[in-house]
Symmetry: C2
Subunit: 276 residues, 2 copies
């Protein structure tokens, strides 16, 4: 195939989007398209300009023999507001009210398009945080964790409540759940982590933060450190002091009124906590 | 912003890749780029040609007032062999052997890049099967289910072993697990499915197929039907008749020798069962 510039641009865009946070040597493109490095550089300048104009992300060029180009996904402020607004609209439906004031959210966690957009939002937020892995607790956090991880190009580590033979040897901790004050257990396969990693914690919902705090204790067992806490929805209904101070949320659940069948949601702190 | 063709091609490629199996009216592009429909059609022809040449996927044009363009992700045979080969190499590592002849696979399920490639493979296989949803059992099948679902633009439904308050009212069934012959329970939120849906079942590992069969029974309770069964690894070590006949697997586990510390894997039936 003899490549035209227009075709190179299409294929290059596809390749870059499929390889976020990955250094790609220019020789990869020049040999794939049988083109001079100067042509590839011109192509990349067009991709870079369009990505930046549209808020898709940045292209970072690393000079030198070991250099190349790296695509860093981003989310513009307008897009972020749109995603959060769509998520809020979906979650505000009174049909989601469950006995006890709980909200049914499982279908939204099962919506891969929504999860992908939310994943990019958090990946944009933590793009410069040198994240080595994303950690969550089974089951509901898994789609969010994977969506963030794909855009940051890092592995997902899933903490379980029980130990399974297919996990090999494990480390387990006990912790006090924030709201119910019960002793709970967390189990993580020993092979899941290496010491010294910086880990982003994520989950669908956070009240007092007991689960997040449990994960932090588990990280300490592996000589790893938390690099951030990302939650879809935080609850405002926290009687006691929150166990986790430094977190990023998309939505804040103000109030659920079972009798009136109303759900009051507001934007979380995504836009507040410094920049983006 | 005044758009040049080269910039339109970059942004259009990005948009199409982010919206698989979605009909996009041409007016979306002509108004986004302030360009004539004839220019947009020429752009799309370039994207289409490049996608098809590279095996990225097809662009289907639907004519008429309600028409538009639809991107259908695909995977070329060469790429499919590469992905399966990479997966096999990773899984053949004797360091994965666990007591009892089990294989540690959790880190591979936590690799978002690998899951994305595998998801595209299955999405390509089932691209014409009119899938309405992907179903899996918590916990390990979730990353695969989401990866396939994203490329097919359908929701994920997660069956649980236990009932949780945040699931609302549920339907539960008992079934006999294939290998251990124990009675097990599956629970699914009533809100998760509508009747009449065609559902692709997926999981990481299949031996006799008891779990898959359980999911089929659950589908019947919802008046839904199975549209296929996709597994990463099938076991050859099946003493009794397999409960599921019609499935697609990437790898087949021939033998695990704990003493010699060897793992024998071969290609699954992905390439065998008709086409692709």
């Amino acid at each position: 195939m003899k490549w035209k510039r227009s075709e190179r641009l299409v294929d290059m865009t596809q390749y870059l989007l499929a390889h976020p946070h990955t250094l790609i040597p220019l020789t990869h493109f020049s040999s794939a398209y049988d083109a001079a490095k100067s042509s590839i550089s011109e192509d990349l300048a067009i991709v870079k300009g369009t990505f930046e104009e549209q808020g898709t992300g940045r292209l970072i060029t690393v000079p030198g023999a070991a250099g190349g180009v790296k695509y860093i996904p981003d989310a513009g402020s307008k897009e972020a507001h749109e995603i959060i607004r769509d998520f809020m609209d979906a979650l505000s439906d009174p049909g989601r009210l469950l006995p006890g004031g709980y909200l049914f959210m499982t279908d939204l966690l099962g919506n891969p398009g929504l999860m992908d957009r939310i994943g990019r939002l958090f990946a944009a937020r933590y793009k410069d945080s040198e994240i080595d892995a994303i950690m969550t607790v089974a089951t509901k956090g898994i789609p969010i964790a994977h969506a963030i991880a794909r855009h940051l190009n890092v592995p997902v580590v899933v903490v379980r409540r029980d130990s399974k033979v297919t996990e090999g040897s494990t480390v387990s901790i006990n912790y006090v759940s924030g709201s119910s004050r019960r002793i709970q257990t967390m189990v993580l396969s020993k092979r899941s982590m290496q010491s010294g990693q910086r880990v982003l914690l994520t989950d669908d919902f956070m009240k007092v933060g007991g689960t997040m705090n449990g994960m932090k204790n588990l990280l300490a067992e592996f000589d790893c450190e938390p690099a951030g806490v990302a939650v879809l929805v935080e609850s405002e209904d926290v009687q006691e002091e929150r166990l986790v101070e430094d977190y990023v949320s998309l939505l804040r659940l103000r109030e659920v009124n079972e009798k009136e069948r109303t759900i009051e949601l507001v934007e979380g702190n995504y836009f507040r906590e410094g920049g983006n």
